[in-house]
Each structure stands twice: as structure tokens, then as C-alpha cells.
């Protein structure tokens, strides 16, 4: 979530006006999610949270793309956006590393937090999942991970 603008907040650098409508659209989406209540069904309880994670991911991705791929915004504006928390700094830092180009969220690579001491299942490449399932003679059962609702974020996917 972006920081609340106060009197002490630095003014947005030049070029912010061009991306503002898009950022507002993201904010609107977040509001819409908030206005729909959580489902009472146990398994669906965290779905709204997933949606929030998704918007957060998309917004960070948007800022990342603008600066690193499309090269349309200045470094000054990029840093300002990071400081005002329009984008997740840590997540973007991971995207710049090899093998983490499509990472969904930071929690999915925290091996220390999981029971088996491994990363989340959404980090496993789809091809490998299919291969393993074939060995066991089953279908791939994985649909979405429980942390953020990601359905696969390996770089090869």
C-alpha cells in the first residue's frame, strides 16, 4: 500500500502524472476487493487475501517494467515510487536475479518457514510437476499455492 501523503511527503518528480491514472486503477481494484466480504467457506477464506497479493504483485511488476524494461520513467521517479511504497522494493530486487524472474511473492521462497525446509510448490516448474505426476501415474493436483494463490511462478513456465 502506498504511504499516506502528508505535508512532509516529498513532491512527486516529473512524469508522475502520466502513470497516475494507472496507479489509481490499481487502488480502485484494491478497494473493490475490500468491499467484498470474505467467503464463509473455509477453503475459500483466504481468497480475498490472494487477490490483494495479486494486485500488489501486479503493481510492483508495473513499476518494475516501467523502469527496467520499458525505460519510460526516470530513476528519480522510480526511487520515489519505491519510497512511497507503490512497489515492493524487496520483490523487485528478487526479480532482477536469475531464476527469480517471475517470483510471485517473497514468502514463497522462504524455505525456513515451511515444514520441509523447502520453497513453496509454486516455485516448481510445471514440466517437472508433470513428470513427477506421470511417474506416480496421477494427474497434477497442484492448482494454487496457499500463500498467495500463485499457480506457478518458475522462470521456465
Amino acid at each position: 500500500m502506498p504511504r499516506i501523503a502528508t505535508r512532509r511527503t516529498k513532491m512527486a518528480p516529473e512524469g508522475f502524472a502520466k502513470i497516475e491514472p494507472t496507479l489509481q486503477d490499481f487502488e480502485k481494484r484494491l478497494q473493490d476487493i475490500q468491499s467484498t466480504g470474505d467467503s464463509k467457506v473455509g477453503v475459500k477464506g483466504s481468497e480475498n487475501l490472494w487477490k490483494i497479493m495479486q494486485v500488489h504483485h501486479e503493481r510492483s511488476r508495473y513499476v518494475y517494467m516501467l523502469f527496467y524494461k520499458r525505460k519510460l520513467i526516470s530513476r528519480e521517479l522510480y526511487l520515489w515510487l519505491l519510497r512511497e511504497k507503490y512497489a515492493d522494493k524487496q520483490l523487485i530486487a528478487k526479480w532482477r536475479k536469475k531464476g527469480y524472474e517471475k517470483l510471485c511473492c517473497l514468502r514463497c521462497i522462504q524455505s525456513g518457514e515451511s515444514n520441509n525446509g523447502t520453497t513453496c510448490i509454486c516455485r516448481v516448474p510445471r514440466a517437472q510437476l508433470e513428470r513427477d505426476a506421470e511417474k506416480k501415474g496421477m494427474e497434477v493436483t497442484f492448482k494454487q499455492c496457499i500463500h498467495c494463490g500463485c499457480n506457478g511462478c518458475a522462470s521456465t513456465d
Partner: protein, 444 residues
């Protein structure tokens, strides 16, 4: 210190500001706020939109016709005719030239228009095609002058065929290629049959260029502007589309001067819809009914329904909007505008809305002008007399014709879902729409 201004959200999602000291309401963000937010950027999502109209157009090919008329093809694919006095005209008023144009090989003309728009091909040289057309016209002029009228259509076509054979060496491959190119340009065939993936990608990129999408935006937002287009579906998966969009955005700085335009596509679909009789938009009659109702501050949908029961039946509202819930939703949205804004303000809102769709609008307009010579638009004076007569049926027909002209069911289908599009009564709406279109047409 207490701040007098407070921010609220209107039912349409837009923010407005209320000053608790002066009891004033306004849409604009008050200026003395600590963070300057480039005061009220209008909702226009794509800044390139306005500049699209004043892009420089260059004539590329000139084809002399009979009686000193000339056909000029511009680099955005539009056609103009130059009359003997050297003035440019939209329509061709010379019967001889018209006849001549009828006999020219259409495919080659289309190919030429394609080249004018920047279509490149390694196999076919645009100059050769141009020369061929010129030659053909020379031939035809002689033929037509030789025995005026006595020759039947078939004979001329025969001459044409001989001509073609003489000009081109019998090269099956070349011909085949050319045919393929033409079908691609025309897009008459189903797009899925084009097996060539790079071709599809190229067309898709052209589509992105055509609509001047906002390169500062996300695919999720921008795709809504073009998802009704045929070439949109050339790329099958959305992921791939998004990737292409990103690619397009990232190489924007290097190629922004190239503007391909591809208005030749979806000709067939346009013709189909033109054949139908005038069809009102979904909310057309309902908005008309609401306009006729006297609205007080506490009017709700049920009141409107009670008051105008007969009209509801007469206009068969049920057939347009089947669900009652939707009727109610739309009515309450409209009632909001009727209660809070007077006529002038509503007119402003309407014009503002139309302006946000300017790019799509001018594109559709151009398209229907290109494909149709008989444009169903009245002249200024005719329109005024029509208004004075106050013949409501005629006015409504004019409105529907205007809507058909800009093809609201196609490209602008998002526009006709907006409640603001309906905040005016039929007469006011026609006037405003007519003015806007007139303005757009005056800019070539």
C-alpha cells in the same frame, strides 16, 4: 489546524471535494494541498490521443483519372480526389473517372493503399505496382475514349486480363504470393487460417500502433480498448499478447515515428452491419423515458415505472433489457445525474465523455468514410431546419444514423455502456453528437 476541504467519492467512482467552511463542492482537487498532483488531469487515459489527429499526413501516390481529376493516396491510407481546379474533394464527382475507377484492378489499388501505409514486402516492389496501375489507366482511357459506352463490361475485363499477362511474366509463385498478400491485407479470410506466426505478430503490433495505446499503462487496462478488433485474436493466448504489448512499449522510443495503419481489415463485418436497419442502443428508450419523467429529489426507479407505465410497454423495454435488476440499476445511475446536474452541466459531462473516446471515434469515422461514399450525414443547414421543425421522429432517426455512422456497436461498445452517454434527452444528444462529429470531420 483543521483543513476545510474533505474528499468524498461520488457514486460513479470519481472523487469530489467538499469545503466545510464555504459549503462548496467541486470535482477539482483544491490547489493548496501539500502534494501537488498536476491539477485535475482529465479522465483521458491516453495522452497520445489528442495528438493523433494532428499527425502529419503526406501524400504518397497520385493517380491521374480522366477529365483532369486525380486520386491521391495518403500515407495514413485515406483517399482524396483533386478536381480540375486543383481543390481536394472527399468524393469523386466526375462520371468518367468513376467509370474508370470501376474498371481498375481493385486488388492492386488495395495493395497500393497498403504500401502507402507502410506495408513492406520483399517480393513485390511498390513502384512496379504503381506503374502497372498507371499503365492500366492509360489503356483504359484509350479504350473508353475509342468507343464510348458501346463496349460491354466483359470486353474490358478481357482487355484487362490480357494486359495483366503482358505486364507480368507468368510466374505462378509470384502471383500466389501476391494473392496471399492481398487476402492478408483485406482480412476477408478467417484470421486463424494465417499459419504464419510472425505475420500475426506484425499485424498485432500494427493494431497496437493504430489505437495509440497508452505506453504508460498496463495491459489489463489497455486491452479493453482493442479487444473488439479482429486482429486482436490473431495471437491466441493472453500471455503472449501481454508480452507483445510489453515489447511494443519498450521499443517505443526507437520506432515511434513509424505509423502503420491498417483500416482495410474487417471490411466484411462492417458491410454486414451496414445492411441492417437502424438499431437503437440498449439503453436508448429507457433513457428517453427517464428524460420525460419529472424528477424530484426523492424519485426512485419505482416512481419512474409507475409514472411511465404505458411508455415502458410501448417501447418494449423488457426486450431491450431483460433483467429488471439491470433496469433498476441503470435508472438509478441516470437519476443521480438528473438530480445533481442541470442541463448545461450534463451537456458538459456528455461532451467530456465523448472526448475520452476520441481516438476510437475518429478511427471509426474515418473507416466508415473510407468504405462508404454515401455518408448519411446531413449538412449544417439541413440539420438546423430539421431542429426548427421539431419533428421528433426525424431527429431520432438522425441520432440513430449518426450512431450507425460511428459504428457504436463495434469499436465503441464500451461507450454505449456508460450511463453518462444517456444523460441527455434525444434532441440535445443529437445536437451535441452532431457538433462533435462535424468538428472531427473538419480535421482531415
Amino acid at each position: 489546524m483543521r483543513r476545510p476541504w474533505k474528499e468524498y467519492t461520488a457514486p460513479n467512482g470519481k472523487k469530489y471535494y467538499y469545503n466545510s467552511e464555504t459549503k462548496k463542492t467541486q470535482w477539482e482537487r483544491p490547489i493548496f494541498e501539500s502534494r501537488v498532483k498536476d491539477d485535475v488531469v482529465p479522465v483521458n487515459r491516453n495522452p497520445q490521443g489528442s495528438s493523433a489527429l494532428d499527425k502529419i499526413n503526406i501524400p504518397v501516390y497520385v493517380i491521374p483519372l480522366s477529365n483532369d481529376w486525380k486520386l491521391v493516396i495518403w500515407n495514413n491510407g485515406t483517399k482524396f480526389y483533386i478536381d480540375p481546379h486543383g481543390k481536394s474533394q472527399k468524393g469523386l464527382e466526375d462520371p468518367d473517372s468513376l467509370e474508370l475507377l470501376d474498371y481498375i484492378n481493385r486488388d492492386k489499388l488495395i495493395l497500393l493503399v497498403g504500401f502507402a501505409r507502410g506495408y513492406m514486402s520483399s517480393h513485390i516492389d511498390p513502384d512496379v505496382v504503381y506503374d502497372e496501375i498507371l499503365e492500366e489507366i492509360e489503356q483504359m482511357k484509350q479504350d473508353l475514349n475509342g468507343d464510348k459506352g458501346s463496349e460491354s463490361n466483359d470486353d474490358i475485363e478481357l482487355v484487362l486480363k490480357d494486359n495483366k499477362d503482358a505486364n507480368e511474366p507468368v510466374n505462378e509463385e509470384e502471383l500466389e504470393l501476391q494473392r496471399q498478400l492481398i487476402t492478408n491485407l483485406n482480412d476477408v479470410d478467417e484470421p486463424n487460417t494465417i499459419g504464419n506466426n510472425t505475420e500475426a505478430k506484425k499485424k498485432f503490433m500494427e493494431l497496437l500502433d493504430n489505437f495509440h495505446l497508452d505506453k504508460f499503462s498496463t495491459w489489463r487496462i489497455e486491452m479493453k480498448k482493442i479487444e473488439s478488433q479482429q486482429s486482436f485474436f490473431l495471437i491466441e493466448s493472453n500471455n503472449e499478447r501481454e508480452q507483445l504489448f510489453e515489447e511494443w512499449c519498450s521499443n517505443f522510443q526507437t520506432v515511434n515515428s513509424d505509423n502503420y495503419e491498417d483500416g482495410l481489415e474487417s471490411d466484411s463485418s462492417m458491410d454486414e452491419s451496414d445492411g441492417d436497419e437502424l438499431e437503437p442502443t440498449k439503453y436508448h428508450y429507457l433513457s428517453h423515458i427517464i428524460n420525460k419523467t419529472d424528477i424530484t429529489n426523492d424519485t426512485i426507479y419505482q416512481d419512474v415505472r409507475k409514472q411511465q407505465k404505458s411508455l415502458f410497454k410501448e417501447f418494449k423495454i423488457k426486450e431491450f433489457i431483460t433483467s429488471k435488476k439491470e433496469q433498476e440499476q441503470f435508472t438509478s445511475k441516470l437519476l443521480f445525474y438528473y438530480k445533481n446536474f442541470d442541463l448545461e452541466e450534463r451537456k458538459k459531462l456528455f461532451v467530456h465523455l465523448i472526448n475520452t473516446y476520441k481516438v476510437q471515434l475518429s478511427y471509426s469515422l474515418q473507416h466508415s468514410l473510407d468504405t462508404d461514399d454515401k455518408v448519411g450525414l446531413l449538412s449544417e443547414t439541413q440539420f438546423r431546419t430539421l431542429l426548427e421543425e421539431n419533428n421528433s421522429f426525424e431527429i431520432e432517426t438522425t441520432l440513430l444514423r449518426l450512431e450507425q455512422l460511428i459504428n457504436v456497436q463495434g469499436l465503441l461498445n464500451k461507450l454505449i455502456e456508460e450511463p453518462i452517454y444517456y444523460v441527455l434527452g434525444i434532441k440535445d444528444k443529437t445536437v451535441e453528437l452532431f457538433n462533435i462529429l462535424n468538428h472531427l470531420m473538419s480535421i482531415p
